[in-house]
Every structure is written in structure tokens, then in C-alpha cells.
């Protein structure tokens, strides 16, 4: 028998980026809030304290801050006729675990999607007609516009202390910023980081070719900063151990640096760690949630936690898993194309070109998560999809994010991975390489989705979630297009050696190498309940007191890193819950 605890007004599942934001915003209403986090508590000191965090083997290679597959993972297959197998060793993506979630070990790239990405299907149909959309492609509008979200992007960027250079403030173009970005109501809270040599070289080459480089925006503070909650960041010291690590220096925007100590002062907010939510419980008619069941690790028992509102902030994949396990929304079926929960999972299509320069010393130990220069000349709003034969786009970028010695040293292809020749290669090339990368969109498809695995169960005996994902021709054409644009820029820089890595025809999804932790979709938002799991306020269409945060809401992936949009959606939903839902709980659409 599960223990039953006293009722709360709001239960938040997961205390990462979205859980922290919702906790902070909803606590202003005076309601009693409990956040349940499956992992450990984490603070900069002692958990990320210098110098122990600067350990690439422990954190960069052995994934010290991330989810352990033995505790939580998915099964993966590429096509409908493969049998999915558990993702037993992290590789392709690295979900977070513990207070702060993946917000602890992210890099901090913080973007706003382009205006037309929010209404992608309409944009394509209006300009080229529905016929250019491949038959199995399921792209959708988001049901919310950039204009509506703009104030919430602004909130998130000013909360997380983003360093960057605006290109378009209220329609006024600003030299040095991104000329293709959507208008913003004001600039970034902090100036851009000082650039590294590779970024400067790339920017110069791009400029010479008539392109428009600008500093890439990110959550590594260029100066000391204090946000709206009074929380603080210190200036980033370019330690180069950013992605995969908690910041030693209070410099990376994260739930810890930007929200949590302010949130912990609220008397109506409590949080419990080592408390994994197993499912959301529904009322008999299935129209409302009554609370959640979680595993209390300390007590060693299941607990029923009643609540009036349930916020899922467990990261995209876990949000969808919990919905599938709890019967929230009809599960998606690729055979019929019906159902919404698990629909439109998508990923990120990236590629890159490395260059080696015998005579340039890049000082690669100096790096920061988001330092670098980018161009958006081949972004979604710049490409003629009809003429190019694909839908999508990328931003292209160079900068030293990784200053770490093990994974951070690029070697010319063909160099052995160990032994005397490897040593010689390291001696010759350490500090002499750089790369230009493309970071691109990934569309949604009929047979790319999430559901419950028929075979494998997790440590709680629940069916694991199964991911069916593969690369598709449209996106491969998109990344090949980027290759054709990047290589000439790289060549113009006259490297001694150059090598490219972009997905080509017939590429299959390989879960071993790291790609990105930008798992999106599965609980898409939208205006039509037959193709979306949640409405424009991130509210479940079927169970109106469940709100689902995170990138699971994306109906297909944007060309940018997701968290700017994840943060904006969290503020947007929080406002709707506070001002509209709480006074009168009901389906908001």
C-alpha cells in the first residue's frame, strides 16, 4: 500500500530548468508547491567545486552528472521492423539527473527560433505549396507565434544572464548582430564573450565572402550579473570544461545560479530529492489528475502525493514516458497515424568541417561553452525550399567550446587512436586545429515516434519507453547543402589539412557517438487535438490539470539548440496557469 501524504496545490515533476522556473513563478501565487526530483541535491559547492569538477575522465567520459542507464533509459530502434534494444551505454544523448537537471551540464547556447519555425507547415504551404512536403513528413504549426512568445524569450534570457549581441531590436537593425533574427524587444543582458582565435578567423573568412557573422549567444556570463530573482553570476573564466560539467565558477546560467536559492526562500515551496515519480494518477473519468505516485528512496516505499495541478518538467523524454504510463492522451500509432502521445519525436541534424593549421597556435585550453561566431545566412528563413529540395536550415558556427585534453584534441583522419603514431599525431597537431560546424533542423515523420516498449521494463517494473528514430532524406539533403556552403569558407582559410563529416545518403542513426541532447517532440503542442498532445498553453488536451513543459512540445525540431524556446514556453505557460487557469481551472482552449 502506498503511503499517502497531505495534499499540495501543485506538484512539479523534476527540478531542472523548467521545474525551477515553474516553481518560482507559481510560488508567487501563494500556493503550496512540492517539487519531486528523482536524483540527488546539487549545489555549486560542494558538488561542482574546483578543482574536483575539472576531471574529464569522471565527468566528460564517464558521465558523472548524468542519468545512469541502469536507473533510467530508453530502448531504441531505427525502423518499424527492427527490434528495439536498451540504450545501455550513454552516447548519442545525455539526459540529466539530480537537482538542476541537464541545466547543470549544458553548454548554454541560447537561441530564439525564427518566426517561421513556429508556423512551419503554413510557411511552407504559403510559399511553395503542400506538395513539396514529403508524404511521410508530419510538420506542424506550434499553435503559438513568435510574437506571443517574445516577452517570454526576453524573460528567460534576462533570467539566465545571456551574453550576446542583438541584431534586430524592435525592427531596428544593429551592426554586428544577427541580421536575420526575429525582432527582439531589447538587447541581451550581457555583452558577448571575448572571442577565441578560431572564431575570429572564421568570422573574417565569412565576412570576406559576403556573409554576416555575429557572436553566438549563450549562458556563460561575460560579466558579473544579477537577475530578476536577485540571483547572481560571476564572469566566465574560459575554463573550457563547460558541457558535461557543472560550472565551478558560478558563471554558467543554470537552475542553481539563476533560480534555486531564491526559490528555496519561499515558505510555500518545498522539494524532495531521490523521489522518482512513477506515474500521474487520474480521476475515474480520466479528465483530471489527482496527483502522482512516486518512489521515496529514503523511506523505501511508494507514496501517493495528491495535488490539484501536476507540472511535468522531467525532460522531454521522461515527460512523454510519464504520459504514456499514465494514460494521458491517446498513444500515437504509426500504422494509422492516429494518437498524439509519442507523436513527432525529432532530433538534430549537425555536421562539421575540421581544419588543421601547422602555423597557427589556437591555445585550445582557453574555451567557453558558447564562445564563438555564427552565421545565419543559411537559416530556415533564408533558403528556397522549393529550389533546394529540402525543408530546413542550419546555423553555422565556430568557436572553442571544449578546452579538455581527452576529447578536445582533433587529429587528421587516419591517425591511429593509440600507440606511438597517436602520440606523434598529438605532438604535431595539438593546438593547431579548429572546426566549423552546422547545427540544423530535423523534421518530424510518420514513423519516427515514442511508445512503450513491448519487452523491456525498468527497475520499477514499468515498461521502458521505445524510441523509433532514423535519419531521413530531406534532412540529409539539408546537411549536404550546409557542407557545400561550409567547405568553401574553410578552403578560403587555407588550412594545411581539412576534413568533413556530414551525414550522407543512406546514413542510419548510430547511438554511440555523442550528437546532441536535443530530444524533442513526443508531446507536440498545437491547435488541433487530433495531431497535438497539448494545447498552446502546454496543457494536456485530455487532462486539463496536467501541464507538460520542455522540448517534448516541439512539433518538429528547430534549427537551433532548444533551451531558449523551452525557457520561453515555460514562462508563457506559467503566466497562463497563474492568470487564467488557477482562478478558474478548466481546459484553456
Amino acid at each position: 500500500m502506498a503511503r499517502q501524504d497531505p495534499k499540495k496545490d501543485v506538484v512539479i515533476v523534476g527540478l531542472g530548468w523548467t521545474g525551477s522556473i515553474l516553481g518560482m513563478e507559481l510560488s508567487k501565487e501563494g500556493v503550496e508547491i512540492l517539487a519531486l526530483e528523482r536524483g540527488e541535491d546539487r549545489k555549486t559547492v560542494p558538488d561542482f567545486a574546483y578543482p574536483n569538477m575539472i576531471d574529464e575522465l569522471k565527468y566528460g567520459i564517464r558521465y558523472g552528472t548524468m542519468q545512469k542507464p541502469k536507473n533510467s533509459t530508453v530502448t531504441i530502434r531505427r525502423t518499424l521492423d527492427e527490434t528495439a534494444l536498451p540504450y545501455r551505454h550513454l552516447g548519442s544523448f545525455l539526459p540529466g539527473d539530480g537537482v538542476g537537471g541537464a541545466g547543470v551540464h549544458w553548454n548554454g547556447h541560447t537561441w530564439r527560433p525564427m518566426e517561421n519555425e513556429f508556423r512551419l507547415r503554413s510557411y511552407v504551404e504559403e510559399n511553395w505549396g503542400a506538395e513539396i512536403i514529403p508524404e511521410d513528413m508530419q510538420i506542424q504549426d506550434w499553435g503559438v507565434t513568435y510574437e506571443e512568445l517574445e516577452p517570454h524569450f526576453d524573460r528567460f534570457e534576462w533570467m539566465a544572464g545571456i551574453s550576446g549581441q542583438a541584431g534586430n531590436v524592435n525592427g531596428e537593425m544593429i551592426e554586428g548582430g544577427n541580421p536575420f533574427e526575429a525582432p527582439r524587444s531589447r538587447g541581451y543582458p550581457l555583452p558577448p564573450l571575448q572571442q577565441t582565435a578560431d572564431a575570429e578567423m572564421f568570422a573574417e573568412a565569412a565576412r570576406a565572402m559576403g556573409l554576416h557573422p555575429f557572436p553566438r549567444p549563450g549562458a556563460n556570463a561575460s560579466e558579473a550579473y544579477r537577475n530578476e530573482y536577485g540571483m547572481q553570476l560571476g564572469p566566465c573564466n574560459f575554463c573550457g570544461f563547460c558541457e558535461r560539467y557543472g560550472c565551478i565558477n558560478y558563471s554558467k546560467g543554470s537552475p542553481q545560479t539563476c533560480v534555486l536559492d531564491a526559490l528555496k526562500r519561499k515558505p510555500n515551496f518545498q522539494y524532495k530529492t531521490n523521489s522518482e515519480v512513477l506515474r500521474v494518477t487520474l480521476a475515474d473519468d480520466g479528465k483530471t489528475a489527482t496527483g502522482v505516485i512516486y518512489w521515496d528512496e529514503e523511506a523505501g516505499e511508494e507514496v501517493f502525493q495528491p495535488a490539484d495541478i501536476v507540472i511535468l518538467g522531467a525532460y522531454s523524454l521522461h515527460n512523454v514516458h510519464l504520459m504514456l504510463l499514465s494514460g494521458i492522451g491517446q498513444p500515437y500509432d504509426p500504422a494509422t497515424g492516429e494518437g498524439v502521445t509519442g507523436r513527432n519525436y525529432a532530433y538534430q541534424m549537425n555536421g562539421g568541417t575540421s581544419m588543421f593549421f601547422k602555423d597557427v597556435d589556437f591555445n585550445p585550453f582557453i574555451g567557453s561553452g558558447t564562445v564563438g561566431m555564427s552565421i545565419d545566412d543559411y537559416a530556415i528563413n533564408q533558403i528556397d525550399f522549393g529550389a533546394e529540395g529540402f525543408i530546413g536550415g542550419s546555423y553555422i558556427t565556430a568557436g572553442r567550446a571544449n578546452g579538455q585534453p581527452i576529447r578536445g584534441i582533433a587529429l587528421p583522419s587516419g591517425t591511429p587512436g593509440w600507440g606511438a603514431e597517436w602520440k606523434q599525431g598529438i605532438g604535431e597537431w595539438y593546438g593547431h586545429s579548429m572546426s566549423i560546424g552546422s547545427h540544423g533542423s530535423n523534421m518530424s515523420y510518420r514513423d519516427v515516434y515514442l511508445d512503450l516498449d513491448p519487452t523491456y521494463t525498468d527497475k520499477h517494473g514499468r515498461p521502458m519507453m521505445r524510441m523509433t528514430f532514423n535519419w531521413k532524406d530531406n534532412d540529409i539533403r539539408m546537411t549536404q547543402f550546409m557542407k557545400s556552403k561550409i567547405e568553401p569558407v574553410a578552403e578560403s582559410m587555407n588550412p594545411d589539412l581539412m576534413q568533413s563529416s556530414y551525414k550522407g545518403d543512406g546514413a542510419m542513426y548510430d547511438v554511440r557517438p555523442y550528437q546532441t541532447t536535443h530530444n524533442v517532440g513526443g508531446a507536440p503542442m498545437g491547435a488541433d487535438p487530433s495531431t497535438s498532445a497539448i494545447n498552446r498553453y502546454l496543457q494536456s488536451w485530455d487532462v486539463h490539470n496536467v501541464f507538460v513543459m520542455g522540448a517534448s512540445a516541439f512539433p518538429q525540431n528547430i534549427q537551433y539548440n532548444p533551451t531558449g524556446a523551452v525557457g520561453a514556453l515555460a514562462y508563457w505557460a506559467a503566466e497562463a496557469i497563474r492568470k487564467d487557469y488557477m482562478p478558474n481551472p478548466r481546459p484553456l482552449v
Partner: protein, 455 residues
Amino acid sequence: MIKLLRILAALALIGVVVVLLLIFLPHHLTEPQEDLAADWTPEEGQGEYAMILGDCAGCHIGADGTPFAGGQPIDSPLGPIYASNITPDPEHGIGEFSLDDFRAVMYDGVDEEGHDLYPAMPYANYRKLSERDIRGLYHYFMEEVEPSSNEVTETSLMFPFNMRFGIRMWKWVALSDPGFEPPFGDEVENAEMLNRGAYLVEGPGHCGACHTPRNLIFAQKGFTAEDSEFLTGGVIDGWTAPDLRQEGTQPQDWDQVEMARFLATGRNAHAGVSGEMELVVQYSTQYWTENDLLATAAYLDEIGHDVARESDAEDDVPSLSEEETVTLLGDADPEMALGPRLYLDNCNACHFSDGRGAANVFPQLAGNATVTAPVPRGLVQTILEGAELPSTEAYPYKLRMPGFGWRLSDEEVAELATFVRNAWGNDAGAVTAADVAGIRSAIEDSPEGHGEAAD
């Protein structure tokens, strides 16, 4: 503290001689400083605010966090002195106290049964409280605080310090006249504000209890700015409570708004609060009104001496200018001395080679009172254990510096501390490995066992 021991021992001896006299002579209690009507009641919130000004909460908080339930030990080499339960519980608290009993505690350090209180209770400073604040406090504790039945461990110091009549004799010489005299006349611009600042600092804020040096019998050397040694630096828990008056000290160097910000948030463009002062910010000054903080800053500024602090007599370490330090660190010569090398490896990421840190986040080390304190315990303890800023309303982040004691030997800490005490124009005495060893063991022995902050 050793000094205290010796003094109290001497006192106790004399005490034995006059013991009978002392026991049988009744206490002479201080009268109210103003005639207030018997039915006078404080305005709403006035009593609570007086409590905040006096920082009663910091010492009297219960072990489980119950406000004013008492029981927390105040470290003394003679043994722990336990803060009393000051909730209105009639049996375990002060519920049976009359207003006169309460005033006697605050002004004269005498409890309702006529026992003399240990001067851990700063009645030497509270003697300057106005009658209005006394009445406000009395009202607050009787009417607004929840009673708690927490039974506080009785303080039992070893013989002869458990003979409280020794304290009585000490008080004859150690206390000043009661009552507050506004020092600034109308001819002074801003007199009202400055007088308010004086009242706060001398009276409820009891700043002198830590920041004024003590004489041979452990009495504060002065209670008002007329005394030239008032607020010129003392010692608390082995740490230097910095001089607040000499030229070049922080309140004299900082502008008044920065000083006020420091008290309100525990941090400002230059420094972060540390040591016992952290508790003062946490429980008291963060809740002071802006006007009171500015009045305090203005008053401290006003009473500054024009004399520069005397440099440390034993200082034989040459001081490096800011430019020399930045060059030394920037060159990063592998042959560089151990101190600067350890600085680069451990400290530079936050405090930077110019020693300026970052406003409100990473304290500046150049000119930092904890760094250059005559007694280096604060600096060494911070290097060993780290330090944490208190969470305040405007600046909630408990920014914490990690400790380095686990990875640096006594010699290394000494080299590092000596370097920062003499870099960027700092000029303070060397720290030895023996000093560090002593501080390490003192920290281990302390009953609170500082260590990593609990949440």
C-alpha cells in the same frame, strides 16, 4: 580568549575576598531613560524592528530553528555559555518577567532573580537603548513571540567562573553610563541622520561588542566616538573584527551606498561578508530600513580618523604593487615562488590576477579587511574551509567559496596567505605554517565545528 581566562581568573580571586559583601548587597538598577505613560504601547511592528536592530534572533535561535527558544552554545574557552530561552513561556522562558525585570537584563545584565549575566549578552551596549525600544522589545517578546518550552542547558563554567558575583564586580568597572546622548548638535549638517546612525551603532546594533578593542579586564575601550579607540578593531572567535575608523579601512574607503549595500545584502562591489558578521547580516542588518542603513554608513564615515592604520610591526614581507602583482601572475614563470603559483592554481579563476574579483560575487582581495587583518585567522580559515554568503532578500544566493584545506598543506596555506597579504598593495605580516596548524586545530576543536554549511 586566553586573555579572558587570565583576567577572569584574577577577578575570581579578588572575588573570593569580597564574596560575602557582593552576595548580600542588593543590585542598584538603572531607571527608565524616559517617562512613558504606563499605558504607552509601541506602534505596530516597532517592537519587532527593535528586535531586528538588536539582532536578538541570531544568538537566541533554538537548535531546531525555533525563534528565540535558546540553547545554542556561545563558544568560550571556559566552556560553552548557552543562550537563554527568551520566549514568553512562563517556566522556561521570560514569561514571568515584569517590564522592570526585562529592563534590568538589558541595561544592567541582571536577571529577575538577581543573578548577574555573563557579558556574552551585550548589555554593556544595550544600556544605550531608548526606553521606547525597551518597551517595544518587551511588548514584542511578551505579545508577539510564540512561547517555547525548550529547556536550555544551564551554563556551568568551571570553578571559579561559575561564581557569578565576579561578574558583578566586573560590571562596576566595565560598564559606561546608561542612556544615549545624541553626539551631533544642530550646527552639524545632517545631524538627525548622523544621530540616528550613532544610536544604531552604539546601542542596539552593538557594533562595539566585536569591533572595539578590549582592555586588560576585557571591557570595551570606549562606547562612543569620543573614545578614540571605539570601533578600531577587536577579536571575535579568533577572527579580527576589523577596524572601522582608520583611514583606508573599508567603511572609510567605500562610499556610503556601498557600505549600506554590504549590510543589506552581505556583499557589495568590493567584499563579501565573512565570519560572525555573516550572522549579523543574516539575522539583522538585511532587515534594517534603507534609511537606517544609510544613517549607519553616514555615521561610520563621519567618525573616521584621519590617521592611516599603523602597518604591522612584525611585517618583514615586501609589498607588491598592483602592477607588479599582475605582471608576476601574468608571466606565470614556472620558477615563480610558491605563493603566487598557488594563487594561480587555486584562486585566480574567481579573484583574478588584479585581485579585484567581480562586483557582488567574488570579493576583492586588494584592500580586503579579512585578508590584511592583523590576526590572520579569518583569511586562513577561509582558505581552509571556504566561506558562504548569507541569503538575503535582495541577494538570495548563498554564494560559497570551496575550502582548500584538504589539498593544501600548512606550509602551502602559509605561503599563499602571505602572498595575498602582500599583493596588489596589501601590506600585512607573514603567516607561518605553525599559525596555520594552530588554526586548523582550533577549527576542529570548536563546538560548532564550522565545516561545510548545512542548509
